[in-house]
Amino acid sequence: MDGRTPNAPETRETVFRARGLTKIYDMGEVKVHALRGADLDLFEGELIVLLGPSGSGKSTLLNILGGLDVPSAGTVHYREMDLTKATEKELTSFRRRNVGFIFQFYNLIPSLTAVENVAVVTDIAEKPMRPEDALDLVGLSDRKDHFPAQLSGGEQQRVSIARAIAKNPAVLLCDEPTGALDSATGIVVLEALERVNRELGTATAVITHNADIAGMADRVVHLRSGLIAEIERNERRKSPRDLHW
């Protein structure tokens, strides 16, 4: 529960264990190697940032971890579950129970209010928090009855964070969560993410091509051309407030 101490994370339980992940997209005449044998572990309560230029395979890696895609070769385990052998149905239920997603473009349901967008997930979750509490956690209690069209981009992304955490997931997967936001708004969103990770201890993986965000992570995973080039451990996590870009 203390995401602040980066010591001996290996003693903590492994949430994801990926080994030799390879993903080849068959684009007709050309084959695209998105991943070429990546190994990665994600531990409980930890916040990692996946950093890399576009095409480096970070989104593919995240999609495979989230059960949205299956690797062409290699294995990936979520705790005891082998995701590479799971059926479509099992993957759906895996996402439903364990994964919170945060997308670059928020992907809120335009016809539902903020609180209802959160309720969409809590309705089908096993031990969810109250949607109002989730919104409270991202500081949006007073905007809960607004429709997405009535919220700013940063607010929409915070609703999407609330939606992701409301089911009490084991892991939060964030794909460029600040990609569509200006820096000030982005920082507010990252603060919300950081707070969730710190207070709830949810393992969090954030994809970004913005190196400045790396400072808030326990570990920074550098990807290049489908391979994990380097894993960096931050001795001290920076507060998002101290980030600049």
Partner: protein, 785 residues
């Protein structure tokens, strides 16, 4: 280059484009089918009438010397006169025990008839020296599988003789071959026989005389004047009142049929093309929405507004033309099929199937114009989109809470249910139009089924509630009341009820109507009259009853006085009070007590025939005995009338219902499928997001298809309402003096329509569901709306 984009767009959207094209196919097909059938029938009729010299005026009389012919020819405007001998006969056909009636019509001893020529399908004309040779009408010959050389026995004027078929023919007078007083053709039990004039005259004591005359008029002749003059000439000879083509039975049926076909040619295509226009509107609106960026880029490259507008208009025209081409082909196919069905009822020597090029062009024009009207708004929007604005994505859709939620029912709705409700509520007009589209499909289905139910009801009222006899016997001429005892004496006849019919002209003010006045016993049990609520009413001791239709034609109500001009006997003219109106779906008649009618005629106790109630076991014997009675001209068997009616009708009804079901299914499928596809393209992003969040395929299908389910369910009651209205309109349009179609809606009609609509919706739902299963979850995460 833009044209290549157009082709690729079409390929990409082939499902929706095809669904819309199918609706256009349906509209054009019904239009081409009705119009071409109508044209074909009209042209065939015109050629047939002209080549076979169909007369303009017809009259029957008791007996007049042939010399009268020259006086008739002197009537101004009369071009040709044909006198004939016409007689009733009862036939005895081997291996067919039922009574068969025939009308014997004379053929001139020399040359062809001047009017109402005979088309010879097989064999030869009769030899004027042979009294045993006849040409028989084709439908009758077909019903009995007669061929030249076959023979049967006939009782003509009380004398039995054997007749041999030498030819099989058709006449423009009997395109619709129906027995006197019958409601529907019964080709097994009624036929037309042509015989040499001298021979027929000899058998009926008509040598040097005639009892039937037809006239051809010049184009400037006045029909009412001619009829008046002819009536004056024929009156001393027992003339029954002359009439023009519009009262000639066969012509009349044909005329009504054309009118009905014309009505259908207008209604159905209008519905189909209206729905197609709506679908194109929605379809193109969405397409322009998704292609905003492309439009912007094209404009940035310097394409003019007109080019962009034209591009999308072309897309619509291509779909409309494809639909029209398919529709014309389907329409020709259906039209030929319909023509064959009509040939079962309406006997032409040939049916020249014609599709006028201008009709095909009209169909094409109508569908393209309808399509363009539908697409206009979207095309305009595409053309007028400023490039800079178009580069940006469409502004996010604004949603609101729906009325239901604001009423405090929000708690009852789950999040997916709220999404459904708000999505419907966001574009109420589009949702409403979708509902209307599906409702129209439902309505069309009801029209198909309603006719069946209405006919059942008509037959029930006519043959079960009103007429309850087993047999109706008609005498050659009015007989004394004592004749009833002769009938009652036949073993197996349990009860006989006399009736009298008199040809009359009814007059009220300047309105007249020629019909038969039927006298029945006040306590009649076999022939009951029904009031306007279909309850039996007693024959009043005085005055007469008119069918409600006749009351309308003459503009009279109970209590009004009507002038009755008898057209037979001493031709008395009397003022008579209308005692009440009766309900009758078939024909237009007037009724009176038997005794009051006889007093009016001043003829003593005369009867024209009787209704018999029998012990079924004796029927063959009864038929035989009746055939032997010289005074019996014919016998009608109620059950046979019903059966033969259904036999002829069943096939065509089946075909009509089938066509209707197919077409309406197309609409339902087209509307639901298009709505579903558009909803899918509009919402694939949010549905994919939900899948990522852990919603199952079934759960997201519920959100997408639930909306269509709600719209479909909402459309069914509206469809019932519209369908009832449409049936009422059509029943009203189909109604004529010949028959009125009651607006009877059976539960089965509603059930059938709803079932087809729901099944079509489910099928299109399943098609879309398959696409939902293939939703690309990864792609949506990376794209902006």
């Amino acid at each position: 280059m833009l044209d290549r984009k157009l082709l690729r767009d079409l390929v990409g959207l082939k499902g929706q484009a095809m669904a819309i094209a199918m609706v256009i196919v349906s509209g054009v097909a019904t239009l081409v089918m009705s119009v071409s059938t109508l044209d074909s029938l009209r042209r065939t009729q015109e050629i047939y009438y002209r080549d076979y010299r169909f007369a303009d005026v017809f009259a029957s009389l008791k007996r007049a010397p042939e010399a009268l012919r020259s006086r008739i020819l002197e009537i101004p405007g009369v071009d040709a006169v044909e006198t004939r001998v016409v007689a009733a006969a009862s036939l005895d056909i081997p291996d067919f025990p039922d009574p068969v009636r025939a009308q014997l019509v004379s053929l001139p001893d020399e040359g062809a008839p001047r009017l109402n020529g005979l088309f010879l399908r097989k064999g030869r004309m009769v030899d004027p020296r042979r009294g045993d040779e006849v040409v028989v009408s084709e439908p009758f010959a077909e019903a009995h599988e007669f061929a030249p050389g076959d023979s049967f026995a006939a009782v003509v004027n009380g004398k039995r003789k054997s007749l041999t078929i030498v030819g099989i023919g058709l006449s423009p007078e009997h395109i619709y071959e129906i027995g006197p007083g019958a409601l529907f053709p019964d080709n097994k039990r009624f036929g037309i026989l042509w015989m040499a004039r001298a021979q027929l005259a000899a058998a009926n004591n008509m040598e040097g005389a005639f009892n039937d005359v037809s006239l051809a008029l010049s184009s400037e002749a006045s029909l009412p004047d001619t009829i008046e003059r002819l009536d004056a000439i024929l009156a001393p000879h027992g003339g029954l009142g002359a009439y023009g083509r519009k009262d000639q039975v066969s012509h009349r049926y044909l005329f009504e049929e054309f009118r009905q076909l014309g009505t259908l040619a207008a209604i159905f295509p209008a519905i189909f093309l209206g729905v197609a226009a709506f679908l194109l509107n929605v379809f193109l609106g969405r397409l322009v929405g998704t292609q905003r960026e492309q439009i912007a880029i094209l404009k940035a490259f310097g394409y003019a507004n007109r080019d962009i507008g034209l591009h999308y208009a072309k897309l619509v025209v291509v779909i409309a033309l494809a639909g029209t081409a398919g529709g014309v082909a389907a329409g020709i196919w259906l039209g030929k099929g319909l023509g064959r069905i009509y040939m079962d009822y309406y006997r032409f020597p040939f049916l020249e199937y014609v599709l006028k090029p201008e009709d095909a062009a009209l169909a094409c024009l109508v569908s393209v114009v309808a399509a363009l009207i539908g697409a206009l708004q979207a095309v305009r929007r595409a053309a007028l989109l400023p490039p800079a604005e178009a580069m940006r994505p469409e502004p996010p859709e604004r949603y609101r809470e729906t009325v239901i939620e604001r009423l405090g029912l929000k708690r009852l709705l789950s999040q997916p249910a709220r999404m459904i409700a708000r999505h419907i509520g966001r574009r109420p007009v589009k949702s409403l139009l979708t509902v209307i589209g599906i409702a129209l499909a439902c309505a069309i289905l009801m029209v198909g089924r309603f006719q069946e139910g209405a006919i059942d009801f008509m037959v029930d009222v006519e043959f079960r509630d009103s007429r309850r006899e087993d047999l109706a016997v008609a005498f050659v001429e009015p007989a004394s009341r004592a004749a009833i005892h002769e009938l009652q004496g036949i073993e197996g006849v349990e009860y006989a009820e006399p009736y009298r019919t008199v040809a009359v002209r009814l007059r009220h003010g300047h309105k007249t109507y020629r019909t038969s006045l039927r006298g029945i016993e006040p306590d009649a049990r076999l022939y009951r009259l029904l009031d306007t609520d279909l309850r039996p009413i007693e024959m009043p001791p005085e005055g007469m009853l008119l069918t409600d239709q006749l009351g309308e034609i003459l503009g009279v109500r109970p209590g009004d006085m009507v002038t009755v001009e008898a057209l037979e006997g001493r031709r008395p003219v009397r003022e008579t009070v209308v005692a009440a109106l009766t309900k009758q779906y078939v024909g237009v008649s007037a009724y009176m007590g038997l005794s009051p009618l006889n007093r009016l005629m001043g003829e003593g106790e005369a009867i024209s025939g009787a209704y018999l109630f029998t012990d079924k076991r004796y029927l063959p014997d009864i038929y035989r005995k009746l055939k032997e009675m010289p005074r019996v001209a014919g016998t009608a068997i109620r059950e046979n009338e019903i059966r033969s009616f259904y036999d002829t009708l069943a096939e065509s009804l089946l075909v009509f219902t089938f066509i209707n079901t197919m077409l309406a299914g197309t609409i339902a499928f087209g509307v639901v499928y298009n709505s579903a596809r558009i909803a899918l393209s509009e919402r694939s992003r949010e549905l994919a997001s939900l899948r990522v969040l852990g919603y199952t395929r079934g759960e997201i299908s519920y959100i997408l298809l639930g909306e269509l389910g709600v719209l479909t369910l909402a459309s069914v009651p509206l469809g019932f309402l519209v369908g009832r209205g449409l049936c009422g309109y059509i029943a009203n349009k189909l109604g004529s003096d010949l028959y009125r179609v009651p607006l009877v809606m059976e539960p089965g009609t509603y059930g059938f329509a709803a079932a087809v609509v729901l099944v079509s919706s489910c099928v299109s739902g399943l098609v879309v569901r398959r696409r939902l299963d293939r939703l690309d979850l990864v792609a949506v995460l990376k794209t902006r709306e």
